[in-house]
Structure formats: structure tokens, C-alpha cells
């Protein structure tokens, strides 16, 4: 398959993949390396990293092992990122597909709703959703998903608008295919690749949104997410700045990995874009 060969030709894409595998490895090995509950009281609060062999990355102001929270946090952040992305992409595709395919009134109404979501600052809507539905891990993930679907809806709609009158779709119509099979069997498979690539951007933003929520102490306290650790570290920022710095770097690496992989997929998908 030319696609894989093309993907591995660009160094940033490979670096992105390695970083992503590193983070996935962290998430997978969390249960094995740090069996105890990451939020358990492990030792004295605010031990500096690399000063105490038992706590490689030190402890936070609640005396919890930072390394354990980073490993378990990987699982949480990836889970939130993935689930929120799936939700937002699914909503986006359905709305984009119907708006793009049917046009006319359906398109206007659905586009008004999309515009409404895009005009309203998404973080503000996120605050309202979390204030209303409480801040457990499920509501936070759902809220992020609900907030970030307009972009993929616009992308899907653009794809459908351009594919709708393509000849192979008209051929399908002349063969007597119903609208449903035209949408899902004919147009969608061709419209998906750019949306899937864009999903990497949505996932990156989802992880950043969760960490921002946790920073404002609005995320789920029972869960060892990176954002929570940054939020707690904020109180001791002046001296023990590492409590916020370490999870910040972890988020940086994960989002960097996801974006690089996304960009690699995008370049491999339409090589012409990579230029001469």
C-alpha cells in the first residue's frame, strides 16, 4: 500500500508515532507499574523529583506519587480525548452529511445550529454544561464532545456538497439507489478520510479543554487526570513549580504526538500537498 510507505517517509510523522506509542505504553503499563491507587497517600507532600528513590518524580501537595498520576493520567487523558472525539465526530458527520446531501431548508436550519455553536465561545458553553450536569468524568467527556462537533460538521458538509453531484453518485441514483444507501454506501466512504484526519485535531483540542477545566478545578476530583495535577500544582507554583510542570509536559507530548500523526496522515493522504 503506497499510503504506509508515504506516511513513513516524513520524519515528523514518524516522531509523532513514536511519541504516541510511548504515551500508549504509559497508559497500558500504568496498572502494572503502579498497582496502588494513584490518588492514594504515598508519602510526604512536596518531595522534589529525583531526590527520593521511591518517588522518581516526587510527590504533590497531597503527598501523592506524581509518577503514578502521570501514568494513570495518560490513560484518562487518552480516554477522554478519544471518547470526546468519537462523540463530536459522529455528531459532526451526521449533521454535516444531512446538511450537505439534502441542502435547501435542512441545510439552512442545520447550519444555523452549527453557527450558533460556533458563535458561542466553546469554553463558555463547556463551563455551563459542567455547572449544570456536574463534573464527573462522563459528563466532562460528554460536554467536550458536545462542544467540539461544529468543525467536523462543516468539514463533512463541504465534502458532501462537492461529492453530491459527482457522476458516480448520479449513476447510483439512476440505478435506483435510495437516499440512505447513496449517503452511507456511496458518498460517506469518500468523505471520511479528511474527517478522520481532522479527528486528530479534535482530539488534541479535547485533551487541552479537559486540562483547562481541571485547571479551574471543574473536572472530576476522583480521577487522576493530568489537568487535576496541574490544578493542584497551581497552589504551590511559586516554589514547587514541578508539580504543574511535569503534567504540562505530559500534555504537551501527547497533543504533539496526536497532531504530528494527524499531519502525517494528511500529507500521506494527498501527497501533492507536500509540494515539490
Amino acid at each position: 500500500m503506497g499510503f504506509v510507505k508515504l506516511y513513513f517517509r516524513s520524519p515528523p510523522a514518524v516522531i509523532g508515532l513514536i511519541l504516541l506509542l510511548l504515551v500508549l505504553g504509559m497508559a497500558a503499563s500504568a496498572g502494572w507499574l503502579y498497582p496502588k491507587d494513584p490518588l492514594a497517600l504515598a508519602g510526604r507532600p512536596l518531595i522534589w523529583p529525583f531526590t527520593n528513590p521511591r518517588f522518581l518524580l516526587g510527590t504533590d501537595n497531597s503527598g501523592r506519587d506524581i509518577a503514578a498520576q502521570i501514568f494513570h493520567g495518560a490513560r484518562i487523558s487518552l480516554q477522554i480525548g478519544l471518547v470526546a472525539t468519537v462523540i463530536s465526530v459522529l455528531i459532526g458527520i451526521t449533521i454535516g452529511a444531512f446538511a450537505g446531501y439534502y441542502g435547501g431548508w435542512t441545510d439552512t436550519i442545520l447550519m444555523r445550529v452549527t453557527e450558533a455553536f460556533q458563535t458561542l465561545p466553546n469554553f463558555l458553553l463547556l463551563l455551563v454544561l459542567v455547572a449544570v450536569f456536574g463534573s464527573t468524568i462522563t459528563t466532562v467527556t460528554l460536554a467536550i464532545g458536545i462542544v467540539s462537533w461544529p468543525a467536523s460538521a462543516r468539514l463533512t458538509r463541504a465534502e458532501f456538497l462537492s461529492l453530491r453531484n459527482r457522476e458516480f453518485v448520479q449513476a447510483g441514483r439512476t440505478l435506483g439507489l435510495r437516499d440512505a444507501s447513496l449517503i452511507f454506501r456511496e458518498i460517506l466512504p469518500n468523505a471520511l478520510p479528511p474527517v478522520i484526519v481532522y479527528a486528530s485535531v479534535v482530539m488534541a483540542i479535547a485533551i487541552l479543554l479537559e486540562s483547562a477545566l481541571a485547571f479551574l478545578k471543574l473536572s472530576d476530583p476522583n480521577v487522576a487526570s493530568w489537568g487535576n495535577l496541574i490544578g493542584i500544582g497551581r497552589d504551590v507554583l511559586r516554589v514547587q513549580w514541578y508539580v504543574s510542570a511535569i503534567p504540562g509536559v505530559a500534555i504537551l507530548i501527547t497533543v504533539l504526538a496526536v497532531s504530528l500523526v494527524g499531519q502525517g496522515l494528511n500529507d500521506a493522504l494527498n501527497p501533492r500537498l507536500k509540494g515539490r
Binding site: 490518588l39 504515598a42 508519602g43 510526604r44 507532600p45 501537595n61 497552589d235 507554583l237 511559586r238 514547587q240
Partner: protein, 534 residues
């Protein structure tokens, strides 16, 4: 778990030294006039008039602009401010105040007993939180002449209760700016207060700063020393600490900074970090039980939960040296009411906790969990969230699975005190110098749903109700103190709520300040004698 904490936080010896020596050295310096004093203002309030809202967030500003009838002196005894003298009738139903003469409002109008009458009847009785319960049986305020105000009560009002409450609930507002000017709550003067105090209100830039300048014709001769006070709105505590170090802020009141920043600044010679001056604002961390859960209705389970928490360890490792072990609803700083015998205490004893839980019949399941509880911590204190995590960890060790449910301010009040949608709750109980003001309501039955920080535990105890009612109207101070002793002992035996930690607000102030922290509620006081050395 290695337990030494010496390295992380400073030694208690160091703090003790710091607390004592700063005051001795400067006794004989001559006060210097002038200078701008900047204050860290963490949470903006909806209005600034202390006769309408009793909270430290209002006193920190309103307390410098408006004055009360009576304040507390250095030794914590009542001292006259707008009132020069007072006396109570034998039956305790009539209390007369002789008012200070020659006092004018900032707009030049004279201060008279009519102001006291209007404020007491229209503001204390109808709007002021805690004031309305304190003055429940106030029927009228007579003003025979411009400088005498006679308070008439339907039921006896113990004089020392009133004198203890007035420093917080006794601020007077200018009648001529409120009477006949529509709804008191919406009056714009609340955002630009006019008082008789040492500083005159200048401006309030929402979200940025509040400015008050020196009151040239203040009734205390050639006072105050300072030219101007500026309150800077800084919501992020780490940023506030940074601005103090950069010299942009002189004073952060009421534990405004994070625990670790306070500990760090305590070691910095440029700052003084101490609890001195906050004895009037003691508070206890609470663990509130909802009796609607059958497990918590069982006294053995409540006691087991108390035994399961290693309070000394938590204080030593997380709160540092500004907190100490609580013994009951009345904190130790309240010299007038702190009983010698506080009744049953619940030292950390995991074995007893497990025995009590087994006795109560809640055997641990396959995964070692007996039952699970939803804990709702209040969202406003760093210590509250640390304590909530600590409760979660400690109860897990005895087989009780705890899920922390986070809410914002409004949500917490509604879920706990109105909808009763909680199992455990944890927050602050503010003690206001007298148990009758804001402590006994936590235990007295019959509180309407929706009233925050009152007995919403679905628990009624006729014995404690009788003690509370008797003490509220007992005129003889010694008998009143005895009654409150019984109240504490009953509270600790029945344990509807548990008050394991007692804390006093922390003051972080620039060492150049003089005459600071010289009364038990200095943060809220009028700062008429405060000055800045160069």
C-alpha cells in the same frame, strides 16, 4: 510512609519566634503620617455595606469606612466606638447606649441616634444575615435625645451576648441616604459606602481595585496616619503571592494565600506571617452526617468514621502550624465560653473504628467495601479539598468507599442545605465570638430547609434544643457559660456533625507595617492607628 515533615514545612519553633519578636522591637518608634497601604482582595462581593452583610469579604473594606457601636480592644474586651457607654436593665429587656458626640458622616451630616434606630430596625432586623436572628425579639429602638438609643426586647437579651455580637453585627449606616430611597438592597450607596470611619470611599473599578482616602475630619484627633488604602482584586492566589513579593501588595488577609506560599513567606524577613489579630475569626472544619442514610443514623458508624481519621497526621502534613486539633463546636480561642471538659473526643484508632463498624452490622463485601458514601466538600477552601481527599483515603482503609462530588458555591449550598442530596459534607463552621450567633443553629432542630450552615441533618435532639433555648435568654454570664458547656458535651456525645480541626485565619503582612494585628478581629477593624515605616 516516612512521616518526617521537618524538611518540607518550617519548624514550629521558627514560627513561634517570628510571631513574638516583630512587635517588641518597634514599640517606641514615632508613627509617620502618609503612605498608600495596598490590600489583596480575593473575592469580589455584591455590595460593601457591613450593616447589610456580615462577612469578612465586606468587613475588609466596609469596616474601614463605616463604624459599629462597639468593637473589641487588644485584650478582646468590648470597647465603645460610636457608643460611649451602655447599661442594661435588670430584666435584660432594655439596653441603653449613650452615643459619642461631635461625630459626622463623610458627607458632613451629623451622626445621631436616629441613624442607630433606622439601621437596627430596617437593616439588622430585616436584612443582615445572623443579625436578623440576633435581633429577633428586638421590638423598638427609642431615641429620647440625639445621643441616646434605648433598645427594647420582648425576651431578655444577655448584655455580654449583645456586646460580643455588635463588633460584627453592629455597623451603623447613614439614615438620610437610605430612608425613602427605595429598596435598601438596590441602593447605589451600598457600592459607594458612606460612614463615619477613618477612611472615605473614593472609587470602585469592578474587577480591578477599590480606593479609600484619609477622612480629614475623623472624630479621633489627627488620625488616621495613612493617606490612602487600595484593595487590589487578585483572584489567582499564586499571582497574589507573586505581587506581594514584587511589593505591589502589602497585606493579604484571612488566609488569602496558599498554604505553601504562606509557609515560604514566613521564612522571608520582609514579611510577617501569623494568626495574631484573627482570634475573633476562628473557624472549625466540619464533617456533616446526613441521617437520611441509615448507616449514618447509627451513632456507632459516626463514631467509627471519627476514629478512622488520623487528624494529628493530617494537620502536621497538610495544614502546617496554623491549625490545631478541634475539641468541639466552641473553639479554644473563645476564652469566655470554652468549657474545661469538652466531653467525648475521638482519637485516631483504626481498630476501634473497624470494631464499631462490625458491631453496627456492616460487614465488608467481596472487594472489602462495607458501603459507599457521597462526600460533598465546600468549594472555597484549599484546606477543605485537602481534607476531603484525606477523608476519602482514610475511610477507604476501613472499608468505606467515598466518592467526592465537586460543586460550585451555589450548587453546594443547594445540594446540601436545601435538597439534602448528600451523605457526608465538609466545609467551615465560622465561630463569631458567641455560640448563640452562628454556632447553635448547627444543632438546634426546626431549621427551615434552604437555610445554609444550619441543622439540615434530619436529626432532632430535645435535650440539646432545651439547653440552646435556655442559654440564649440566660442573663447571668456564669450560668450562660455553664449551659454552653453542657451544649458542647451533648454535641460531642451525639456527634450530628464533627468539628475535628480548629483554625484561625492567617495574616501575611509586609514587615514595614506598624500597629497591625492589634485587636482580635484586626482584619475587619477600622485601621485608624495603622501606619507604614519607610
Amino acid at each position: 510512609m516516612d512521616m518526617t515533615r521537618r524538611a518540607a514545612l518550617m519548624t514550629s519553633a521558627a514560627i513561634a519566634a517570628n510571631v513574638i519578636n516583630p512587635f517588641r522591637a518597634f514599640a517606641q518608634e514615632t508613627p509617620q503620617k502618609g503612605g498608600v497601604f495596598t490590600v489583596h482582595y480575593g473575592a469580589e462581593q455584591r455590595q460593601l455595606n457591613p450593616s447589610l452583610q456580615a462577612s469578612t469579604g465586606v468587613y475588609i473594606i466596609g469596616g474601614k469606612i463605616q463604624e459599629q457601636l462597639v468593637d473589641l480592644d487588644a485584650k478582646g474586651q468590648p470597647v465603645g466606638v460610636l457608643a460611649e457607654s451602655w447599661e442594661s436593665s435588670a430584666d435584660g429587656k432594655t439596653i441603653t447606649f449613650k452615643l459619642r458626640k461631635g461625630v459626622t458622616w463623610h458627607d458632613g451630616k451629623p451622626f445621631t441616634s436616629a441613624d442607630v434606630q433606622y439601621t437596627a430596625m430596617e437593616m439588622w432586623k430585616k436584612i443582615l444575615n445572623y443579625g436578623s436572628t440576633l435581633q429577633l425579639f428586638l421590638t423598638a429602638v427609642d431615641t429620647p435625645d440625639a445621643h441616646t438609643a434605648i433598645f427594647r426586647y420582648e425576651r431578655p437579651m444577655p448584655l455580654n451576648l449583645l456586646l460580643r455580637a455588635l463588633p460584627d453585627l453592629g455597623y451603623i449606616s447613614p439614615r438620610h441616604l437610605y430612608e425613602g430611597k427605595g429598596d435598601i438592597r438596590q441602593n447605589q450607596v451600598n457600592l459607594a459606602p458612606v460612614g463615619t470611619g477613618p477612611f472615605k470611599f473614593v472609587s470602585y473599578e469592578r474587577g480591578q481595585h477599590i480606593i479609600a482616602d484619609r477622612n480629614a475630619d475623623y472624630w479621633r484627633p489627627n488620625l488616621p496616619y495613612l493617606d490612602r488604602i487600595v484593595w487590589r482584586v487578585v483572584t489567582d492566589r499564586a499571582a497574589a503571592a507573586a505581587q506581594m513579593e514584587a511589593g505591589q501588595i502589602h497585606y493579604s488577609p484571612f488566609s488569602g494565600l496558599t498554604i505553601s506560599d504562606s509557609a515560604r513567606l514566613a521564612k522571608d524577613p520582609r514579611f510577617i506571617v501569623s494568626t495574631k489579630g484573627n482570634e475573633g475569626n476562628a473557624r472549625t472544619n466540619t464533617v456533616e452526617f446526613n441521617f437520611r442514610r441509615k448507616e449514618l443514623a447509627d451513632i456507632r458508624v459516626r463514631r467509627a468514621i471519627a476514629h478512622a481519621l488520623d487528624i494529628p497526621f493530617f494537620i502536621e502534613n497538610f495544614l502546617g502550624d496554623f491549625a490545631k486539633r478541634g475539641t468541639g463546636p466552641v473553639p479554644s480561642v473563645s476564652t469566655d465560653f470554652y468549657p474545661a471538659d469538652n466531653g467525648p473526643q475521638y482519637p485516631f484508632d483504626k481498630a476501634t473504628a473497624i470494631k464499631l463498624l462490625d458491631e453496627a452490622g456492616f460487614k465488608p463485601g467481596a472487594d472489602g467495601t462495607r458501603f459507599s458514601l457521597r462526600l460533598l466538600p465546600a468549594p472555597w477552601g484549599e484546606d477543605i479539598s485537602l481534607f476531603a481527599t484525606f477523608i476519602q483515603q482514610s475511610l477507604a482503609a476501613v472499608g468505606i468507599k467515598v466518592e467526592i462530588v465537586r460543586n460550585d458555591g451555589g450548587g453546594f449550598l443547594k445540594q446540601v442545605y436545601a435538597d439534602h442530596a448528600f451523605d457526608l459534607a465538609s466545609g467551615w463552621h465560622q465561630y463569631r465570638n458567641d455560640p448563640a450567633v452562628s454556632t447553635t443553629v448547627w444543632y438546634r432542630s426546626g431549621q427551615p430547609a434552604g437555610a445554609p450552615w444550619t441543622n439540615q441533618w434530619n436529626w432532632t435532639d430535645p435535650t440539646i434544643d432545651k439547653i440552646i433555648d435556655d442559654a440564649a435568654t440566660e442573663v447571668d454570664p456564669a450560668k450562660r457559660k455553664g449551659l454552653y458547656g453542657d451544649f458542647v458535651r451533648r454535641a460531642n456525645t451525639e456527634l450530628p456533625i464533627w468539628t475535628p480541626i480548629e483554625q484561625i485565619f492567617l495574616t501575611v503582612i509586609n514587615a514595614k507595617a506598624r500597629n497591625h494585628s492589634n485587636t482580635p478581629r484586626w482584619g475587619s477593624a477600622s485601621w485608624h492607628d495603622l501606619w507604614l515605616a519607610k
